[in-house]
């Protein structure tokens, strides 16, 4: 099992792939979360009827397989002659995909804040903004956090699909090594371990925040 031709060079190559996975995930989750919050708040404020077009578009992003979104996104940027690099295209598509899921999480979080609490806040003379900032945000964040951590971990693993656009991320780097060294089991095992090493701290950090933010009752 440990009789392998894998060298430190190859491990460095895998590490570069992992860095690409992290970069794509970081950009997509950040942009996706910002967009998701905007869309989520809009959907709650506008109400089901007026938000229907937005909901429909977001549903499209949630229901079409990510691989197809990436390939189509890449084709569209080519037809529109935008000249985006594969990294840009990947991040844009993944951000929209993340935003679609995130808006749902945010909407759920906001709706979990009791209407009575919000009305009480407004009766005290708080503006809409103050109500959102000091009442809704803290409560909704607590409700949304576990789902958001799950989304982040999901996007990190889904980001492997960007290899289709030619980006050499962790999975593609392992594939390249498998082609060259013909040791699929060992290399994929290492690849799996690296994914775990990246994901585990995020999951634990989420667990820590949940604990810290839990009500003291």
């Amino acid at each position: 099992m440990f009789d392998t031709t894998l060298t430190w060079n190859d491990l460095a190559f895998l590490a570069q792939g992992a860095a690409m996975t992290l970069a794509v995930t970081a950009v997509s989750v950040t942009a996706g979360t910002v967009l998701g919050i905007i869309f989520g708040v809009l959907r709650v404020q506008l109400g089901a009827v007026w938000a229907a077009p937005l909901t429909f578009v977001l549903d499209v992003f949630r229901s079409v397989p990510l691989l197809i979104q990436l390939v189509l996104g890449n084709a569209i940027q080519a037809i529109a002659k935008l000249g985006w690099a594969p990294f840009t295209t990947s991040c844009v598509v993944l951000s929209l995909y993340t935003a679609a899921y995130c808006s749902e999480i945010i909407r759920g979080g906001i709706e979990a804040v009791p209407a009575t609490t919000r009305r009480a806040a407004r009766s005290l003379g708080m503006t809409w903004w103050q109500d959102m900032r000091y009442i809704v945000a803290p409560l909704a964040t607590r409700v949304s956090l576990p789902a958001w951590i799950g989304l982040t971990l999901g996007v990190m693993k889904d980001s492997a699909l960007v290899l289709w656009l030619g980006l050499i991320e962790l999975l593609r780097a392992s594939q390249i090594l498998v082609t060259r060294l013909q040791e699929p089991l060992f290399i994929l095992l290492i690849c799996g371990v690296i994914y775990f090493v990246i994901s585990f701290p995020i999951a634990r950090f989420g667990g820590y925040l949940e604990k810290r933010w839990s009500p003291n009752d």
Binding site: F13, N74, A75, G166, I168, I176, T179, R180
Partner: protein, 268 residues
């Protein structure tokens, strides 16, 4: 006020249309980068070395092309089915990817003149006495079942009416049987034959000559409307042969007799 709006729109139109007139050759030179689609799991044309950097005939060819254009080369790895989609979606400028110049593909992309040719080579066991394709008559021959060369060879054995044809599951099995003397000779692509002989895993075999089967000519390709670039690529291929660089690269990556890139009796 009206005049300035008019002047601005005129200026904008001029700028936009003049940009549209710059062709791909200009774009590559001004961007300073030539992006080549290369297949990297197809040695010796394209593969990766111990540090996972791209190497191979196609990689060197792309680097030569970039040097001629005065830009830097960027190797974009594309699996076989992704070569043309990568060009169409604008991820690469040129395909240097051992692409057969079929008429079907030429409906989609612009093909240059051939830059490489996969010939069929005869590899024989040294004890068999086979020195050419004709010597295979009456001998025990074999090839990888289902491949183009296996079908052609089996038909040839039937036409000769002497000898025996044996199909094998993989290319490695064929060379093993050849090395052990179960086979007298085989026919395979010249690159495959040379690569297997070079590994040293199969002692007692040698590439002895060419087989008169169809030659697989491969061409560079780019967008079919980019005549300026295709013109440049054709001249580049011509210069590679003329300066001896083609023979040099062939010797470096494949070895043996350099295949001719022209077809007798016809232009292009």
């Amino acid at each position: 006020m009206k005049f300035s709006v008019l002047a601005f729109s005129l200026l904008a139109t001029t700028v936009l249309t003049s940009q549209a007139h710059a062709d791909k050759l200009d774009d590559i030179i001004s961007s300073g980068t030539l992006r080549c689609a290369v297949v990297l799991d197809f040695p010796p044309m394209g593969s990766r070395d111990e540090s996972n950097n791209p190497i191979g005939f196609d990689v060197d060819y792309c680097n030569d092309l970039a040097k001629a254009l005065g830009v830097t080369a960027e190797i974009v790895e594309t699996p076989f089915p992704e070569r043309i989609p990568a060009l169409m979606s604008g991820r690469v400028d040129v395909g240097v990817a051992s692409t057969s110049d079929t008429l079907e593909r030429a409906k989609t992309v612009g093909m240059t003149v051939p830059y490489f040719a996969f010939e069929m080579a005869v590899t024989a066991n040294e004890k068999s006495g086979v020195k050419s394709f004709e010597d295979m008559k009456g001998k025990v021959v074999g090839a990888t079942a289902g491949t183009y060369e296996a079908i052609a060879l089996e038909q040839q054995v039937k036409a000769w009416g002497a000898g025996e044809f044996r199909p094998y599951q993989t290319q490695a099995d064929v060379f093993l049987a050849l090395s052990q003397g179960q086979l007298d000779a085989t026919v395979s692509t010249s690159t495959v034959a040379q690569a297997n002989v070079k590994t040293g895993k199969f002692p007692g075999i040698a590439v002895v000559g060419k087989a008169p089967f169809d030659i697989d000519y491969v061409a560079l390709f780019t967008n079919r409307e980019e005549y300026g670039l295709i013109n440049y690529l054709n001249l580049f291929i011509n210069q590679q042969v003329r300066t001896g660089r083609y023979a040099e690269l062939y010797g470096k990556w494949v070895g043996g007799e350099v295949p001719s890139l022209s077809v007798n009796g016809v232009y292009r």
